[in-house]
Structures are given as C-alpha cells and as structure tokens.
Symmetry: C2
Subunit: 435 residues, 2 copies
C-alpha cells in the first residue's frame, strides 16, 4: 500500500537554512513518492486512505552514510583507545568472528532488528571481508524494509592473520563471487565497493577494485583523512600520492572524474584533516563526505571543518560510524555535529560559525539522502521516507513550537522509545503499537 495520506505536525528541509514547519497538515504519498505537504488536503487526494497521527511530529527518515554492522556488537565499549590501537584491539578481533556464520547470524540479526526500530531509513554499511556473512547481512537487512548499501570489505594489508585476505587476487575473487551471488536477489539492499582504507589495501588490490568498479558500475565507500597517525602511515605507504584522497583517485575509487562513464557515487567517511587539494578533488568528483562526529571524539581523531565543506558546497551527510560512534541514533549524530562544530569554532577557527540545528537536520536528511537519489525531503517528487515521533515522554510545563519540539527530541529523546512509526519509500516498516 504505497498510496496514502499522513496527517500530523510535519517538518522537513528544502535547504540547509531553515526547517519548514507545517502544523496539523497533510503529507501525500503516491506510489512511494511524495506529492508534497499541504495545509489543507487537495480535492484529488481526498479518496486516499488517511492516517491521522494527531499531535505527533512527522519528519523525513534519517540517513546514516557510514556504519559498520559487525562493530555493532561492541558499541559503547573499549572507548579508551585511539584509532590505530582501537582497530587492532577492538575492531579486528570482533570482525574476525564473522567467518563463523552462526555468530554472524546472531550478531547481524541484532544489528538488523535494532536498525529497523532506529531513526534510520537509509544507510551505507560496512560488513566484514567475509562474503558469505555479507550476503547473510544483506538478507537480514532486506527483510527489515530499510534501503541500504552494503559492502563486503576488502583488506589484504596490515591486519591480523585471522582477518586479512591472503592476496589481492583472492580479495578480488571473493568480491566478484559476492557480487555475482547477490545479483538480482534484493529490491532494497544494494552492493557498494568497500576498500577498508588505504592502509588495509595493497596497490595490487586497488588496481583490481578499479576494474571491478568499472565492470559492475558500483558505488564506493571508504575512510579518508581521519586521524593524524593514519595519515602519516598513508604517506609512508603512498609517497607518490599528492594527498590521501589522491591514493583512491589514482584507481578511480574517488567519486566520478569529469566525463567518467561511472554513474554511482562515493562516500568518504570522516575528512577531519582534508586539505585544500583534497577538498577541491572531492568537489570536482562529487564525493560525499560522511561526517561522523561521535567517532571523531571517541577515538580522539579531531573535529572536521564542516562549515568549510558547507561553504564550498560539497556533498555531505552524517554517519553514526558505529562502533567508533557508540550509537546508531542519527538524532544523536545531529546534535553531536552541532556540539563539535561549536568546539571547532571556539578552539580551532573562529571564522567558521557553528552549525545550527536546522543545518544539522538538513545534513541528516536531505544532505545525506542525496546519495540515494531524491531522498531526505517531503518536497514533491521525493521518495517518501518518514518517521513519526511521539515526544509525550518528555514532559514540559509550557507551550512549545514545532521547531522546539523537534530540537528537544533530537537532543533528548532521540531514542527508539519515541519513534512510533517509520516509512521507507512509501512502505510502512514499523507500525504504531497501540498500548
């Protein structure tokens, strides 16, 4: 049933300046596509089934541009480490377990269920290097109704023996086997090429991935300029590259060069330390930045210059980066992004104004949504992803505006308790429980 009307207090972004507010209004969906928001219901939609959410808030679904499914198991633990140590002591040992499909089923089952009830409607997800477990993850995600990209990770360098891929050839062969194995199997769950990051990939592997990307016209996701220690290591490994992003670009894994026949984009997570050349190349190639503020705090990376990226008109969305970030809550990612931008303004560069709440909301909806097409807004023609929010568990003595209620929900109530219903591309995947 993809033709309907939702009634309630509706908020969404057209641009990053200002959240649009429609009290007690109508959101029309036909064939999974928004026909817009109306203060009174136009005649031609009056025969559509209408669901009245009363005083509740209705907003676009939130988009998570960067999350690691296998790391969900240890979210919020082992946080007293910096990136490179954290990878060796936390990430790699956990990821090695996913060779065992029984363990993967249990762990990914939890992940998929928690993502289903979260605020996220779209996500770009790292699995592990294991192709069988990655297929399993895709099956589980397909069943949730979420729309996702999922990547089998490529890593043939600098990882423990029980996790590393034995060679570039084997990594590539497993990738092709994975891609061919899922061909045509899923409606909502798509593959994305996922070189872990430059330190994990030999040049031979990058070369193979370049070919695979061309052959399959795949999108790409990876990590970029996250941490000073990591960046120094990349310089050692790749002395010929002009900057970190150039390592990917040399193998056509960095967006789409002008005139490229490739149709799918690239997400680079973090970009905490991207310099002018890297920024210019991201802009030219249409690379999406996944800004992951919680992760950047937890593993002591630093603060990304998000205002600069916005000023320069780069594509940007937010990422939870579980388990560098401790939670899949994209409401939390929104408010973390604001808080971090304030510390950037105060401690790094006071010409870069902090993000406003409206801007952070935009990034978490339409900003990241653009990676998935016309996603993240209720404007006419957008795929209809929506959350219905109940903020009754947050008592208050005074009258609140819709904007205040939304801001408060993001700062306080961004937990699953308040998310009562969820629509993805016009399909209701989470129905309001009647008490």
């Amino acid at each position: 049933m993809k033709n309907f009307v939702l009634k309630g207090n509706i908020l969404y972004s057209k641009n990053s300046d200002k959240i649009e507010e429609y009290p007690d209004s109508y959101l029309v969906c036909e064939e999974g596509i928004s026909r817009g928001v109306f203060r009174s219901l136009p005649e031609q939609y009056k025969n559509l089934p209408l669901k009245d959410y009363g005083e509740k808030l209705i907003i676009p679904g939130l988009v998570d541009l960067h999350i690691h499914a296998p790391q969900y198991a240890y979210r919020g633990m082992g946080m007293d480490l910096e990136l490179m140590d954290w990878l060796q002591q936390q990430a790699f040992p956990e990821e090695a377990k996913y060779i065992d499909l029984e363990y993967a089923k249990k762990a990914y089952g939890i992940f998929a269920q928690q993502m289903k009830i979260s605020a996220t409607t779209r996500a770009s997800i790292f699995a592990t290097r294991h192709s069988e477990a990655t297929k399993l993850l895709m099956e589980l995600l397909e069943d949730t109704g979420l729309m996702t990209y999922v990547g089998k990770v490529n890593m043939d360098n600098d990882a423990p023996e029980n996790l590393i891929e034995e060679s570039a050839d084997i990594s590539a062969a497993h990738t092709i086997e994975w891609l061919d194995g899922i061909e045509g199997r899923f409606q909502r769950t798509k593959p994305i090429l996922t070189p872990r990051f430059i330190p994990s990939c030999t040049k031979a592997l990058l070369k193979k991935l370049q070919q695979i990307r061309t052959d399959y016209d795949l999108p790409v996701q990876s990590h970029l300029s996250e941490n000073p220690g990591e960046i120094a290591f990349v310089k050692e490994l790749f002395p010929e590259a002009a900057f970190y992003g150039d390592c990917y670009d040399r193998y056509d894994l960095f967006g789409q060069k002008p005139g490229s026949p490739l149709t799918k984009g690239t997400i680079m997570a973090h970009c905490v330390y991207s310099g002018d050349e890297e920024i210019a190349l991201m802009k030219q190639n249409g690379v999406f930045i996944a800004h992951c503020p919680a992760s950047n705090m937890n593993i002591s990376s630093g603060i990304a210059p998000v205002r600069k990226y916005m000023e320069q008109g780069l594509h940007m969305g937010l990422g939870s980066d579980v388990a560098g970030g401790q939670t899949e809550s994209m409401f939390r990612a929104m408010t973390d992004a604001i808080q971090m931008s304030k510390m950037y303004w105060r401690l790094v560069d006071d010409t870069k104004k902090p993000l406003t709440f409206d801007e952070a909301f935009y990034l978490a909806t339409k900003g990241g949504g653009a990676f998935f097409g016309k996603v993240g807004s209720f404007e006419e023609g957008y795929e209809l992803d929506a959350l219905v929010l109940n903020d009754e568990h947050l008592p208050h003595p005074q009258k609140l505006t819709l904007h205040q209620r939304l801001e408060r929900f993001a700062y306080l109530g961004g937990d699953v308790q308040g998310i009562v219903s969820k629509y993805v591309a016009g399909q209701c995947i989470l129905k309001e429980q009647t008490a």
Copy 2:
C-alpha cells in the same frame, strides 16, 4: 527499612584509577551506611533481609554538582546561542515565570519527578531568585527522597526588570526570609547560598551574602571562568580582583580559607579558563569544581582542563548543568567528559591525557559525592546510595565483562528505562516494577 543486603553484580570506585568489580556479590547496609561489599555473605549479616537483583548491575548513585531546576522546562531547546545571549534570550525569560507559584508548581513538579527516576541520587541545585518558589521546590524534592542542596538565587545586577532583585538589601532580606522559613523543615533538602555569578551581583550584595554565610554557616555554589565573554565582563566590573575567583574570595564565598570557622564547602561550576592563581586558591580553599561538559559544548564555552585539575588534586565532580546541558543524565555527563577530554588532548594540549572511563565514573560518584560527606562509594562507612541497572534492552551476541556492561550502559543506555531501582542513604526511593 535501612538494614538489608543487596545481591548482584557490584561495581564502585575506591580511587580514580580503577573500578572495583564484584560479580554476584553482596552489598550490606546498616542504618543507611555501607558495611562493604563481600563475595560471600559474612555470618553476622545472614539474618538481614536480602534483595537479589540477579544479573543486574549495582553501582553507587550518581552525583550532580550543578543543575538549574527552572531551566529544566527548556532543556534541549534554543541551543544555537552563546552564554551571554543564551542567558538573556532563554534563561532569564523562563526564570521570570517563577514568580507565579502555579507555574512553579507545574514546572518544578516535572523536574522533581524526572530527577527521582534519573540516575542522580544527590544534587546541588539552583532555583530562581524567588524565595516562595524556592521553598516549593524544596518541598517537592524532599518528597522524592533525593538528598539535595537547593539555592535561592541572588541577582541584583544586569538582568531584565522582571527578574532582577531591586537592591542588595531586598535580595539579602529575601534570602534570610527563605532561610528562616525552611529552618528545620526538611531532612534531605538543605539550603545553599547561591550568588548567580559575578556579573549578576553588586558588591553591596556580595558583602551582604558574606554576612549571611557567616551567620548561617552555609555552603556556597556559583559559576566561575566559564566563557571568554563573561570573563572579560567580570574584569570590567571588578578591576581590583586578581582573577575571577578572587571576586568571590574577597567576600568569603570561595571555599574555606585556612583557619576559617566555616564548615561547609563551595561548588564552582565550569572552571573552563581558570589560570594558575585561581587553581591555587581553589586548592587552598577546598573549592569543588563542577565540570559540566555538555553545557560547555552547547553554549560554546570551551573545554575545561580536567586532567590538570586531577593532577593537582583538586576536588572535582560532574554537573549536568541543565539547561546549558540538555539532559539530567549523569551517565551522559560521564561520557561527555571523556569525549571532551579527548578533544582537549587533541586540540589544546597533548600532554594532558584524556579521561578514562574509570576516571569519569569516579568523578560522577566519589569525586562529586565528597561534597555531601562520605558519599559515592560502597566502601565501609559510606552512606548507601545505589542504582540497580538493567541492561537487557541493549542486546549483544557475545559474552561481556561487568566493566564492559557498565561502560556500554553509560554510553548507550543511560536513560531512565534501564534504572530499575534506586537507594538514597539506605532508603529505597524507586522500586523495581514487576512487569
């Protein structure tokens, strides 16, 4: 009933280095005082009533050294402002409403109830300048079973007409009226002298408060060195003071000078920009620092040098600082403190190591608890404040240690949902709901 045994997975701090872990152990309470934690129950306690919490975690109650009760109404809203603008546009207009006792009853009723179900067992609380509403707040808090200090705010300078106190004399008179009005009325709710901060107080008022403090032997709470704009303003107002804290110290409102007959301490919130002289005076006078990381982010103040304060052996605890901070959750304050300390290390001074989880837990329990006496630990002789935590709503596929479960709860589940029971000084104020 203040004599009992609690059984469960018990964690607490003796010092800031390391959390003690007692799986499946016994916490003994006699007359509200801990008799210690035992791996097997000593013979002499076997006749005490025993409550078995099974797999749940039992930890000391958390201590909030700094929170504004009237600002609870707008927690998580209007966050796109810096301190001095935020005060004028958010704090002052809301606080002015508390002249109306009906409004105060509604708003403070919400605050008291939410504090009761929160992780906090002890708190030091700002009310408004209104003595009647402050008495009402104290009544409501007394009923919760929490142990708190509450202060009627003093402010006779630089505030809107509908909030400012007309003169130092009137402010002092209302303070005395408030103190005399509550004399002997409460077991758990104590008064604390509360000059708002230096910009809000004339020197005439500070002089009056000095006398009141001496006459009533009161503790003191205020704000210190929070924000560069505020600090510059204090310098203008008080050119004769050597530093911000000196303004308070000149009126005996800054801890206890050596040899002072005063027996009650002082809490100074924030201390983001305290210099060496101020630090030395805080140390000499035993001033408690309330570190409020969320607030320092939200109103763009900066990052307090907590490692420096720990190295120097200053008294320190954590504060939620609602509504500069958006939530009363002291679990959130713990993890915010860790995250901020990582950004301090990365961006300000890389000789100051980030806080560990164990250190943040110590600050939120025994560190701040010391302001209330022997509070914040389960060591023998401590007043027994305890939380019982259920983390079953946070699924995981692998076996977890107690430390991992606690760290994860703080980072993720620090919401009221997981707090199933709560004891304050041996009294159970929140009983486990049986489903």
